[in-house]
């Protein structure tokens, strides 16, 4: 279905269907749930970064009044992990602990106080081992590997070459080579993770959990608890956002299930904020050694990147992160040659994972910063340089990614216009500056995590005598508004008001499988499946009405709760009456729709080619305006203008919120967020010390929606929730350069970093050309 059709619900701003529940304080998140007889669980964490467990003695703790059960590694030794190639985690450490905060045991008790007392009574004897903390040293390790199955602590490495890289660099007139380092960040979703696992009297288990991926949780609990999937029901309640932090199975979820099975009681565990930081799965500290060459005309000739990600102690999504970094590195532009060497390295720190803009954010920072350098050397305006490297959609990138729609040119044009780029960039007084950067992201992964021919999502619709439309979808709304989006598209296709539609979501006993809320897949995939289900439903209703009218079904249309003949609107019937006729004709109405990415979208065939392909890509361009105080090094971001190509804004209110929220999160990483380590100890596991931006620091963010109308997207839509994030960091870096003439290659851009760069700049003054000394300019 294309966007050109006139729509009544789609494309109109619509408050979220659950907004009232939320603003009344009546919505139930996992920690808000209680059931009779419920026990409270608490988890014992390792005080060592790397140690052998010699002995665990739970006998004293078990004797404490109110303790109902204690679980250790022995109770659930089956390893699990989100990737089939990375089942390296046990819910409780079996032989070794691998980071400070690793899970050792858990207690279920009649109250939180008793559970906490019991934790103090568990005696664990550890034999400490040397800890690997620096990824560049860890990957040289000859012994004491964190996992015996991962030699030299390298979780995974990939080496990809596309096109003729050597020839590309030979053609280049200007070449830059730099090291960029981005610090480790956490999602800091406002809701700490929480799980309520209920052991049912008939030997089944019901699990309410703060998850973005009910289906994968369902599978994992089945494996670890050794219960068939058909005895387990996973329900996603309201989720206090995820950003990827709930997109793989988190230890708390399995711990609650293991305790529930062991005690035969309902058990709820909720993380403290400190535990959220230890469960982590955030964006890894990333070292990017980047080399890029452009021709005198400003055409990118070749790109070479060596990327090291400090992945922490377990695999998690690690290999996917490092593959995304390579796949998306150059694919936003027309780049003829790319060499990529990516390393995912294990260290004795909490496991990293997927975080908003998964894998693309830190390499985009490097790439877009370097484009700014090269633009200066080549004396080309940075916006113009980007325009000289655009793709021509439809096309396939050098690494095999199919591009079906490409709104980047319009995004650049819009932000240039709105920001006053031509009048301001390079012309503002010292201390004020403007910078630009672009980014892109997948609208869902074309290949599933677990290889299978199953559709990536299925949606069922039921209508009975009451003419209420009930939509059953496994898709997980985590605050981004996907429930609302599904209601909108179903309303549009059926020609009914959204109020008629009730969505039942993410309950494995009721809703068909959806792979989860990650890689920005829900609008594209569940949106398309919802449209297909609604069309199948509409066909059934039209068949009955057509018989009544004595016409063909295709002569009918449905708008505003009325079905009528297209060429004779006077021949009409209300939706309720039409449903009645259809039920007389077919019986109670059910319809199904599903979505599977087309084969052409699934990418090339080399090792690692499965990550990066998507049915479609979003594009973003941003301009940041900053003020830098040269005395203190403090950077204030005054404004960010962000244009995002989401294909079609099904709900502009939600799209705007997603784009602005992405920019905000990029701003946070750029300016102030970083997990700070003293050896193996995290120094800021709290929202007081891990500072996410408040209203006081946050810049004004202006969102411009660009609609490129993707040929395969639902009503032309693509993703909106992640793609903008990655452009924000380099846009700010480039603006800092425009303001005071220093390049900051490390994220965050702290006052210390800016001040150090300014001091270095003063020391180097009068010693040569304006171009940074690390750059090599090579005349052809």
């Amino acid at each position: 279905m294309t966007a050109s059709a006139k729509t009544t619900t789609v494309g109109k701003p619509m408050p979220m269907t659950d907004a009232r529940t939320k603003i009344l304080g009546l919505g139930k998140y996992a920690d808000d749930l209680t059931v009779p007889g419920m026990l409270i669980g608490r988890i014992l964490h390792s005080p060592y970064p790397h140690a052998r467990i010699v002995r665990i003695d739970t006998s004293v703790a078990e004797g404490l009044d109110g303790v109902r059960g204690i679980a250790t590694g022995r109770d659930a030794p089956t390893p699990y992990g989100i990737l089939p190639i990375g089942h390296d985690e046990c819910v409780f450490a079996v032989d070794k602990v691998r980071y400070i905060g690793d899970n050792v045991a858990a207690v279920a008790a009649t109250s939180a106080e008793v559970a906490e007392q019991a934790l103090d009574l568990i005696r664990v004897e550890y034999q400490p081992l040397g800890a690997w903390l620096d990824p560049e040293k860890s990957m040289q390790a000859e012994s004491d590997w964190i996992h015996a199955s991962r030699p030299h602590n390298i979780e995974k490495e990939y080496h990809h070459v596309f096109g003729d890289v050597e020839a590309g660099f030979r053609q280049a007139a200007f070449v830059s080579e730099q090291r960029y380092v981005a610090g480790e960040v956490n999602h800091a979703a406002m809701e700490p993770h929480s799980t309520l696992a209920i052991w049912e009297p008939d030997g089944r288990m019901t699990v309410y959990s703060s998850t973005q991926v009910p289906y994968y949780l369902h599978r994992t609990i089945s494996e670890v608890c050794e219960l068939p999937m058909n005895r387990i029901r996973v329900i996603k309640p309201l989720i206090g956002s995820g950003f990827g932090g709930k997109s793989e199975v988190i230890p708390i979820e399995v711990a609650a299930a293991v305790l529930a099975k062991k005690t035969k009681k309902p058990v709820k565990i909720t993380y403290t904020r400190e535990e959220v930081f230890y469960a982590h799965r955030g964006r890894p500290r990333t070292i990017v050694d980047l080399k890029m060459g452009i021709t005198r005309e400003g055409k990118i000739a070749a790109v070479e990147a060596r990327v090291i990600q400090d992945g922490g102690a377990y695999c998690g999504f690690g290999p996917v992160t490092v593959l995304y970094s390579g796949a998306l590195l150059g694919a936003i532009y027309d780049v003829p040659a790319v060499r990529y060497d990516g390393y995912r390295v294990l260290t004795n720190k909490p496991a990293c994972g997927a975080m908003r803009g998964h894998g693309t954010v830190n390499v985009r920072f490097a790439f877009e910063s370097m484009l700014d350098r090269l633009a200066e050397i080549a004396d080309i305006d940075p916006a113009e340089l980007r325009c000289r490297n655009l793709l021509r959609a439809p096309c396939v990138t050098v690494n095999g990614l199919r591009v079906t729609s490409y709104g980047l040119p319009e995004c650049i044009e819009k932000v240039v216009e709105r920001s006053g780029w031509r009048a301001k960039r390079g012309k503002l007084p010292y201390g004020k500056g403007m910078g630009m950067a672009c980014s892109h992201y997948v609208s869902g992964a074309a290949n599933p995590i677990i290889r299978s021919n199953m559709p990536h999502t299925t949606v069922n619709i039921k209508i009975d005598r009451d003419a209420a439309v009930t939509v059953y979808s496994g898709a997980s709304d985590i605050g981004q508004g996907s429930d609302t989006m599904q209601v909108q598209v179903v309303a549009e296709v059926l020609g009914v008001r959204p109020e008629r539609i009730k969505l039942i979501a993410a309950d494995t006993a009721l809703t068909p499988i959806d792979l989860g809320s990650y890689s920005s897949r829900v609008t594209f995939m569940a949106g398309n499946a919802s449209i297909e289900a609604a069309k199948n439903m509409r066909d059934q209703i039209f068949a009955a009405v057509a018989e009544d009218f004595g016409c063909r079904p295709h002569e009918l249309t449905s708008t505003d709760e009325v079905i009528h003949k297209k060429n004779d609107p006077g021949v009409r019937v209300g939706f309720d009456e039409a449903v009645g006729k259809a039920i007389d004709f077919h019986g109670a109405l059910v319809a199904r729709g599903s979505y599977t990415p087309p084969d052409e979208a699934r990418g090339a065939k080399f090792k690692g080619a499965g990550v990066g392909p998507s049915p479609s890509y979003s594009y973003s361009a941003q301009v940041a305006e900053v003020t830098v105080d040269p005395e203190t090094g403090r950077v204030r971001v005054d404004k960010i203008v962000a244009a995002h190509d989401c294909g079609k804004a099904l709900n502009p209110l939600a799209v705007e919120g997603q784009v602005i929220g992405s920019v905000y999160m990029g701003f946070g990483q750029a300016m102030e967020e970083e997990m700070v380590w003293n050896g193996a100890r995290l120094m800021n596991p709290s929202l007081l010390e891990y500072r996410i931006p408040t209203t006081l620091e946050n810049p004004e963010i202006e969102c411009i929606i660009v609609e490129s109308e993707d040929p395969e997207g639902p009503f032309g839509a693509k993703e909106a929730g992640e793609g903008s994030l990655a452009a924000t960091i380099p846009a700010i870096a480039n603006a800092i350069y425009d303001a005071v003439g220093v390049r900051i290659n490390t994220v965050p851009f702290s006052p210390e970093a800016v001040l150090a760069a300014l001091r270095k700049q003063r020391g180097a003054e009068g010693k040569g050309p304006q171009t940074p000394s690390e750059d090599r300019e090579r005349p052809r």
């Binding site: 603003i23 800091a188 406002m190 206090g240 403290t272 605050g479 992405s662 999160m665 408040t694 006081l696």
Partner: protein
């Protein structure tokens, strides 16, 4: 610790429950009184998700002892708005998408209601200042400002309608 009877006035209702003297107001609201609208987002009074009005002043219930507020007038998110009607601030959050995941929303609503009570026409700077004790990770705050402005405008229109009757304009 020995439990004691605690009497609190919450959302206009007298409520009684037994709890230890060190029971936090947040836990008392959520667990003893089943008012789970008030959220816990952190360990150290840094997120603002647990804000409630105590005698009209927004306070963090995670660092308040329940027993210390006997005799105070406590309002949680469940108590905002008149019976059967939304507070204009709540309406603003619905219409202008102030809530995405909704977890920080109760705290923001409480803070905003208190702000508009003492300053019915805040400037953007005043809104930012007042809301700086509440963290939101979803919205980037821009739609939250829009939500506040919606409420300001709604109050203004209500004030105009009420003015001919001689009351309400002073609000």
């Amino acid at each position: 610790m020995q439990k004691q009877l605690i009497r609190l006035c919450v959302n206009g209702e007298e409520r009684e429950f037994a709890a230890a003297p060190n029971r936090l107001l947040l836990d008392a609201l959520r667990e003893d009184l089943a008012l789970t609208g008030t959220k816990r987002g952190c360990d150290d009074s840094s997120c603002g998700c647990c804000a409630v009005l105590i005698d009209g002043v927004p306070m963090l219930s995670c660092v308040a002892l329940a027993a210390s507020y006997e005799g105070s007038d406590i309002v949680t998110v469940e108590g905002l708005g008149a019976a059967g009607a939304l507070d204009p601030v709540q309406e603003g959050w619905v219409e202008r998408a102030g809530a995405q995941c909704g977890f920080c929303t109760p705290g923001f609503l409480i803070t905003t209601v208190a702000l508009l009570e003492r300053n019915p026409h805040p400037s953007l700077e005043e809104i930012r200042e007042a809301l700086s004790s509440n963290l939101c990770r979803c919205t980037g705050y821009m739609q939250i400002y829009e939500s506040v402005r919606y409420a300001v405008e709604k109050h203004r229109r209500q004030g105009e309608q009420a003015a001919p009757a001689g009351r309400g304009a002073e609000r």
